[in-house]
């Protein structure tokens, strides 16, 4: 007896269904396009800058007055410098933004990758195994949460960076970026791990897990083949929401002087510098600030859209 006729629903994989939902979200699509543009600009920064005839390093004293403030309005915006120039040096802000985005995105994306990797593995492991493994991972999370992470990050930077160099990371920016990535991963994994643990805890109660166990599946099979595939949605969602957070944090670090070294551009560094020119050159605050805000916003919106598409919740909520 075949039951073909009753199979009325058209076959769509869960990913296809999510994509259909995502496409309906106009805001998310715009944000996705925007983020993609920024990522592309950053990726091809040298070509983009060459095309626009701008350069992030060359000084342009002609645009500055005697104390180093841009001598034309709106932070010295002109055809040669579309978003104006940096006070003190006359370097092109647009070019510095494009190059700065490289740093931000590299750090944010790599750190997100490792954070997610660590969080997912430890979280699922804890949730699936429970018992002692869960206990140890849980206590580690408690411990990490108890520390003032920002303080530790900035106070440990001077010791950890040379250690990275001695471990073979090139001195200067690579070591600094590696440190930030490492430290973000170290403190960042807990959140995603807790989400994953919760999910794994509930998944392990599902009968398909018992079915695989009853057939003799090993732990690694259970975690990677049975449980993990069910967590792609939350993984993608949380990873995509981690990126904007990390972009902001990277900027915060460079704002505090932990970021890349001169003359490499960084968004946070520009903002830290802009404080001294509040009154005379507010454009220098607004342009990098707005750029940072828009990039973080765009990534956040994409993440949100993904969440709505992949993990639709609250649809059944009762109107009160």
């Amino acid at each position: 007896m075949s039951l073909d006729s009753s199979l009325a629903i058209e076959g769509k994989s869960p990913a296809q269904l999510a994509w259909i939902r995502f496409k309906k979200d106009k805001v998310a699509i715009v944000a996705l396009v925007f983020s993609t543009i920024i990522v592309t600009l950053a990726l091809f920064a040298p070509w983009v800058c060459a095309l626009l005839k701008i350069d992030p390093y060359s000084l342009d004293n002609t645009t500055l007055d005697s104390v180093g403030i841009p001598n034309s309005p709106f932070g010295g915006m002109s055809r040669a410098h579309p978003l104006g120039v940096e006070p003190g040096t006359g370097r092109d802000i647009l070019a510095r933004l494009i190059y700065g985005a490289r740093t931000s995105l590299t750090v944010a994306l790599i750190a997100t990758f490792f954070t997610t990797l660590l969080g997912v593995i430890l979280g699922i492991w804890a949730g699936y195994k429970r018992g002692i493994v869960d206990g140890i991972i849980g206590r580690t999370i408690d411990l990490l949460l108890a520390f003032p992470s920002l303080l530790l990050i900035i106070s440990l930077a001077p010791v950890m960076q040379p250690r990275l160099v001695s471990m073979g990371f090139p001195e200067g920016n690579p070591a600094r970026m590696t440190y930030i990535i490492l430290i973000l991963t170290l403190f960042g994994w807990t959140y995603i791990a807790r989400v994953m643990r919760g999910q794994a805890l509930s998944l392990r109660e599902r009968e398909f897990v018992a079915a695989a166990q009853a057939s003799g599946a090993k732990t690694s099979y259970m975690i990677f083949k049975e449980i993990l595939p069910n967590l792609w949605a939350p993984i993608i969602v949380y990873a995509s929401l981690t990126v904007p957070g990390y972009i902001a944090i990277e900027a915060t670090f460079s704002f505090l002087g932990l970021g890349v070294v001169a003359p490499t551009a960084s968004w946070g560094g520009m903002l830290a510098d802009s404080i001294r020119y509040f009154r005379s050159d507010p454009a220098y605050l607004f342009i990098p600030g707005t750029a940072l805000f828009l990039l973080v916003l765009a990534f956040n919106l994409v993440g949100d859209g993904l969440r709505d598409a992949l993990d639709p919740k609250g649809e059944r909520a009762q109107k009160v």
């Binding site: 869960p14 002692i132 599902r206 009968e207 398909f208 018992a210 057939s215 003799g216 069910n230 792609w232």
Partner: protein, 328 residues
């Protein structure tokens, strides 16, 4: 008929109220408390009882999904509860499980082909004709279109999903299948389909079933023998005919009388038990049913009645067994 599976004095407890690494549990749930059973090959043993009486736990210990606290589960003379590694892996091929919830028992991210083929993969079995072919055969066997190999579970209805689960349990060509409430989550019209399928498969493949359910009428349809559980213990065990026509344990009596009859013309006399099933953490002393039993005396509080053979095909654990329905 030979004995396919034998359960001897099986005990399973769960610690409760354990909060940290170092703390002691506040108590233990006596989920299964000294159960002995035997399943002959080709036979269906029904296990009924109210929620929380330990049916699922019993099933899970039998398949080594849970370690036993004490006792044995003998399969071809090997104790499943102590088996490890290779040996356990082999035993798993003989004894498989069908689950209650057709929604949670299939991995939503896997295709039907992958779900049904999973046991072959984890057991590293490569059938001569290839895994895909074998899976398609299985699908056909349970009445599904083999073309559905690449579809996802969410594209199927509850009944069809349950068929997929059954196909999966057959992949390793087991001898014994533990079916834990396989139809409770299905609609009536679908339940019939699945029950019929299970019966057909049994004949075709010479399977033994342990059929767990809380619904006495379902059990009646499929079982050769029925065991009634109450708070982790078997209180009565008999051939189906015998049990339904001549129940001896007051609990069985009450259970049978409580089943609503789908016939408005027929008014059955009903034994209304008072109260609920007591907590399995602190089960009553003596006979566990005494707190709800109309026949209970002092004796029941002090002495636990053993499960005794009262006729060739009938065991009961009661100090005052008898078919008298009415409390008086």
């Amino acid at each position: 008929m030979s004995e396919a599976l034998e359960v001897k004095n099986l005990v399973k407890t769960f610690p409760v109220g354990k909060k940290g690494f170092f703390s002691k549990p506040a108590g233990y749930v006596h989920a299964v408390d000294g159960v002995s059973l035997a399943i002959k090959s080709g036979e269906t043993l029904g296990i009924v009882g109210e929620s929380g009486c330990g049916k699922s736990t019993l099933g899970r210990v039998m398949t080594h999904l849970l370690p036993a606290t004490d006792g044995q589960v003998l399969l071809n003379g090997v104790d499943v509860t102590r088996a490890k590694g290779e040996e356990l892996q082999k035993l798993r091929r003989t004894i498989q499980m069908i689950f209650q919830d057709p929604y949670s028992s299939l991995n939503p991210r896997h295709t039907v082909g992958r779900i049904v083929g999973m046991p072959l993969v984890v057991q590293n079995i490569n059938p001569a004709q290839g895994r895909k072919k074998r899976v398609q055969e299985l699908l056909e066997l349970v009445g599904l279109n083999p073309e559905h190999y690449n579809r996802y579970p969410h594209e199927f209805s509850g009944g069809q999903r349950q068929r997929i689960g059954i196909a999966r349990s057959l992949a390793l060509e087991p001898k014994i299948i533990i079916a834990d409430e396989p139809v409770s989550a299905l609609d009536v019209s679908i339940q019939a389909q699945i029950l019929n399928l299970l019966q057909d498969l049994q004949k075709q493949l010479d399977l033994s079933y342990v059929f767990i359910a809380h619904d006495l009428s379902v059990v009646k349809h499929v079982s050769d023998r029925v065991a009634v559980m109450y708070l982790g213990k078997i209180v009565e065990e008999a051939g189906s005919e015998e049990l339904y026509s001549k129940p001896m344990h007051p609990y069985t009596l009450a259970l049978l009388s409580a089943v609503p009859e789908p016939n408005p013309e027929k008014v059955r006399q009903r034994i209304l038990l008072t109260g609920d099933v007591p907590s399995p953490i602190n089960p009553p002393s003596g006979c566990r049913f005494r707190t709800r039993c109309w026949r209970a005396t002092e004796l029941c509080a002090t002495t636990e009645p053993p499960l005794v053979q009262i006729s060739t095909n009938h065991k009961v654990a009661c100090h005052f067994p008898g078919p008298t329905p009415l409390p008086n």
